[in-house]
């Protein structure tokens, strides 16, 4: 395969990976920026979305699109319960407590998921029309990945417009910027947190389901991919919406590139790059110090 062709492949697959990473991680970025809460268990929502989607499709014959939506909404609702009952008690707590608490949640979810679905990865059976290759004229691409990139971009656009144009979005941005000021302006931050948390978790679930092809749905999901989500958020900048997008693209494309070009050192280079980047910009590329 010649250089240009390889490059296009890498960028394409890297982008698909990046989109999934972003959709899952954007909720984490906002949660951390908004509530100052280090929710390491964020991956659990993505995992739950993946499991629900595949179960609905495989066991109940629900069509792909509906399964995704149903999974996302279910996870969002569950996250509201979790937020009200557990997370909200720890908002003022120290970072260690938050880390421990969320690690505990990961452990519990691993066990529960293993018990219900067993240790093997879930099968993701793509709908007929999304399988195979898509001929885009100059070359053919895997249909599903193309679909993934397209849908993700649409979702992201909707998200960004929502944040910029709606009242809700304005409130989130204000509260991330300065919580006390937002409160004194009469914004109900408690409810804002809950809604934002639900939105972020729902998105993560959506990302988990959409990305089941790339990030295999298995019990260790929340542990395995934690580093990726954290990297995207840390490099992007906590609380930022755009930042993690750039970070996800950088990470997704470079990860794919290195794994393809120099598989012996593969992930190694990514870690060094992230370490270097964070040392240069500890608050992330778009974060506030």
């Amino acid at each position: 395969m010649d250089f240009v062709s390889a490059a296009i492949s890498i960028v394409f697959h890297g982008l698909a990976f990046a989109m999934v990473l972003y959709i899952i991680s954007v909720g984490l970025s906002v949660t951390m920026g908004l509530m100052g809460f280090a929710n390491l268990a964020h991956g659990v929502f993505a995992m739950a979305g993946g499991y629900l989607t595949t179960t609905l499709m495989n066991n109940h014959g629900v069509p792909f699109g509906f399964a995704l939506l149903a999974a996302a909404i279910t996870v969002a609702l569950i996250s509201i319960v979790l937020e009200r009952l557990l997370y909200s008690r720890l908002y003022g707590a120290g970072e260690l407590e938050q880390v421990l608490f969320t690690i505990g949640l990961i452990f519990m979810s691993v066990a529960v998921v293993r018990y219900i679905w067993g240790p093997l990865p879930q099968r993701m059976v793509l709908p007929e029309m999304l399988r195979g290759q898509l001929d885009l004229g100059f070359r053919a691409f895997p249909t599903y990945r193309t679909f993934l990139i397209a849908v993700s971009l649409a979702l992201i656009l909707a998200l960004w417009l929502g944040i910029e144009r709606t009242n809700f979005g304005a409130q989130v941005r204000a509260a991330v910027d300065n919580r006390r000021m937002a409160e004194s302006l009469g914004i109900n931050t408690g409810r804002l947190f809950t809604l934002t948390f639900a939105l972020g978790s729902g998105l993560a679930a959506l990302g988990g389901g959409l990305g089941a092809d790339l990030l295999a749905i298995n019990p260790a999901y929340a542990f395995e991919y934690l580093v990726y989500f954290l990297m995207v958020v840390a490099v992007g900048g906590l609380g930022s919406i755009r930042g993690p997008f750039v970070a996800a693209v950088l990470l997704g494309v470079s990860d794919t590139a290195f794994k393809y070009l120099v598989p012996e050192i593969g992930a190694f280079v990514i870690y060094i790059a992230v370490i270097g980047l964070l040392l240069w910009r500890p608050a992330g590329l778009f974060g506030r110090a």
Binding site: V112, F223, V227
Partner: protein, 331 residues
């Protein structure tokens, strides 16, 4: 806290005497010596517990005392374990020199990473400890020609300690060896923690802004304790290699990093003895319960962690403290 005298003594005396050994502090040592005679069939588990206590002590120094939150501490444990293994396979099976070399290697890696990541704090720092752990894991994974890659280092043969004590198959030598190393580490850690340096670490943890405002070279202190902690973690790793005569990639796992944090929290951080209590309780429970149902072991550990955070932040020793205070009020 463990080192309080009677509240009736004059304050200056209380401070000046606070480092003196309390009788209660000998309890773990009674247990360790006693276990050697009382549980001869469990000495293998015993040495594993002892070396885990060493590992937990190293973590307490940075997490409990200095307040550095890390999920990547097994990086140094792993470096120590692999160094000890490589040393034994290619240079000499002599254990004590292996310990020293492993400690130095781990310390060097600790110094390098500390200099780099301790410029940051909070989530970024946590992130970097993870990235660093995965980095070392990748290196060990890919550098199969030294580390054995996914298969690990096999066929490690240890020589006698002092040319006399062979590593026997009942685990007696391993147990005593681990206990003695633990004893030395414990003495050192105890001295460190009661020194002005140790106190300043507590100050950094409690209020770093204040520390800057009283003229403390904060980063220098943190890098020093991080390096020391890495060395001790490396010693623990070397003990693992020496006592099990095998090193695999699991010494560099995220699970191990997470577990050691859990053990320390379970026992109680920032008080040195939490390491003893937490490691012992966790590993004994794991030995009993995980055999029966490994899946639910994970669940209960997770639940335990959540409950500790919500209701018993000081861990077991914290609860013991509360009980003692309650009793004192009754009496």
């Amino acid at each position: 806290m463990f080192h309080r005298l009677s509240p009736d003594d004059p304050p200056v005396e209380q401070m000046v005497q606070s480092h003196k050994l309390r009788p209660l502090e000998l309890l773990p040592w009674l247990a360790i010596v006693g276990a050697y005679f009382a549980f001869p069939e469990y000495l293998s588990l015993g040495s594993q517990i002892l070396l885990t206590v060493v590992f937990a002590l190293s973590l307490d120094l940075i997490l409990g005392y200095a307040g550095i939150i890390t999920l990547g501490h097994s990086a140094f444990f792993g470096v120590g374990a692999y160094t000890a293994g490589i040393y034994a396979l290619h240079i000499s099976g002599e254990p004590l020199s292996g310990l020293v070399v492993a400690a130095l290697a781990a310390g060097l890696v600790g110094l390098a990473s500390g200099l780099v990541i301790l410029r940051t704090h909070g989530l970024t720092l946590l992130m970097l400890t993870l990235a660093f752990l995965f980095l070392i894991h990748e290196i060990a994974n890919k550098a199969g020609f030294i580390t054995g890659g996914a298969d690990g280092l096999q066929g490690i043969a240890m020589q006698e300690i002092f040319g006399q004590f062979r590593f026997d198959m009942f685990g007696r030598t391993a147990y005593v060896y681990s206990a003695v190393v633990l004893f030395i580490v414990w003495l050192f850690a105890r001295l460190l923690v009661h020194s002005p340096f140790g106190r300043s670490l507590t100050g950094i943890r409690e209020n770093v802004t204040r520390m800057h405002a009283i003229g403390t070279p904060v980063r220098r202190r943190l890098v020093i304790i991080y390096t020391i902690s890495a060395m001790i973690a490396g010693i623990a790793g070397a003990l693992l290699t020496h006592t099990t005569q095998f090193v695999g990639l699991n010494v560099l796992s995220f699970e191990r990093s997470g577990e050691i944090v859990i053990m320390l929290i379970l026992g109680g951080i920032g008080r040195l003895y939490g390491a003893f209590v937490g490691a012992a309780v966790f590993m004994i429970a794991q030995d009993e319960l995980a055999k029966a149902d490994p899946v639910f072991w994970y669940f209960w550990i997770g639940l335990l962690l959540v409950l500790i955070v919500m209701f018993a932040r000081g861990g077991i020793l914290g609860l013991v403290d509360q009980a003692r205070r309650w009793l004192r009020r009754r009496v």
